[in-house]
């Protein structure tokens, strides 16, 4: 597929747009539809398109599998860590009110951080699964 100029050029044009849209969905989830799960999947879709057009080897050099494994754990730990922080602040697990002086600001901050954790883990897992499936037949 790497020889097809139409696919290569179209992919190069739309992959940045996909990634940008994923970031929009991630950080605009408070106001419109979307959130960490959707953004993570869309972000991963950009990388998967890259892997489909340019080959899984190119995708592996763009995002090393070791980094993906780290990110997979990082997102979940970030989410769980927010709960630990709220407990250290003297409140219940995942009670974001304790994150800031103003309860509403604390809620906002907590939701933003945990959604980011969700997005990171989801996109890393999706790319990992794609590489595990599509990379099996590589030489």
């Amino acid at each position: 597929m790497i020889d097809n100029p139409v696919l290569r050029i179209i992919a190069k044009i739309i992959i940045p747009m996909i990634l940008l849209f994923a970031l929009y969905v991630q950080f605009h989830g408070d106001f419109g539809p979307g959130g960490g799960f959707q953004a993570g999947v869309i972000f991963a879709a950009g990388f998967i398109l890259y892997g489909l057009v340019f080959g899984t080897e190119a995708l592996r050099s763009a995002v090393p599998p070791a980094a993906l494994r780290l990110l997979t754990a990082f997102g979940l730990l970030l989410f769980a860590g927010v709960g630990a922080v709220t407990m250290l602040a003297g409140s219940d697990y995942l009670a974001y009110n304790a994150l800031a002086h103003d309860p509403v600001a604390g809620q906002h901050l907590g939701i933003l951080i945990v959604e980011f954790g969700v997005g990171v883990t989801v996109s890393a897992v999706m790319i990992t699964i794609f590489l595990a499936f599509a990379g099996r037949n590589d030489p």
């Binding site: 106001f31 960490g36 959707q38 599998p65 939701i111 883990t121 990992t128 590489l131 595990a132 030489p139």
Partner: protein, 185 residues
Amino acid sequence: MLIESVNIFLLALLAVTAIAAVRLRDLFAVAMMFGIYSLLAAVMFVLLDAVDVAFTEAAVGVGISTVLMLGTIGLVGRYERGSVRSSLLPLTVVVATGATLIYGTLDMPHFGDPTAPVHQHVAPAYITESPQQTGIPNVVTSILASYRGYDTLGELAVIFTAGVGVLALLGLRRRKRPGKEGVGQ
């Protein structure tokens, strides 16, 4: 009236797509049918005003899982072998299970009934109080990340476990084993 006819049209298309996916032997075409099915389901969710769910269905069902199915077809071959066994017993089991499930729905409140228990419990409090408590206009996000934070953490743990499981089964193929040249590459 218009929305009912659109719903009936979409549900009919869903049924046609599902039957086509079962009948086809070409797994590439089956993967495409599943993609179409997910797209139709996403449209249904939009009509039900569940935009966040539609978003997920469109991204996961149409995009990622189609790609993963195509990747699997690349590993296992494109055509399904016809089954020689009789399909009478599976058909009986499926029909009996489906009939039981439909019988079970008869006791449920009607679709969209405002007096249903699910709309009487915590939902009104979430809808009226979440903008003041969280400062976030999208009530889906505030329920998902804040009121139901434990559930979402659990969901994320499920996705994490899925990734670890796939890695354990299929990934980490680069390690060469001595004496098994070419195996696992």
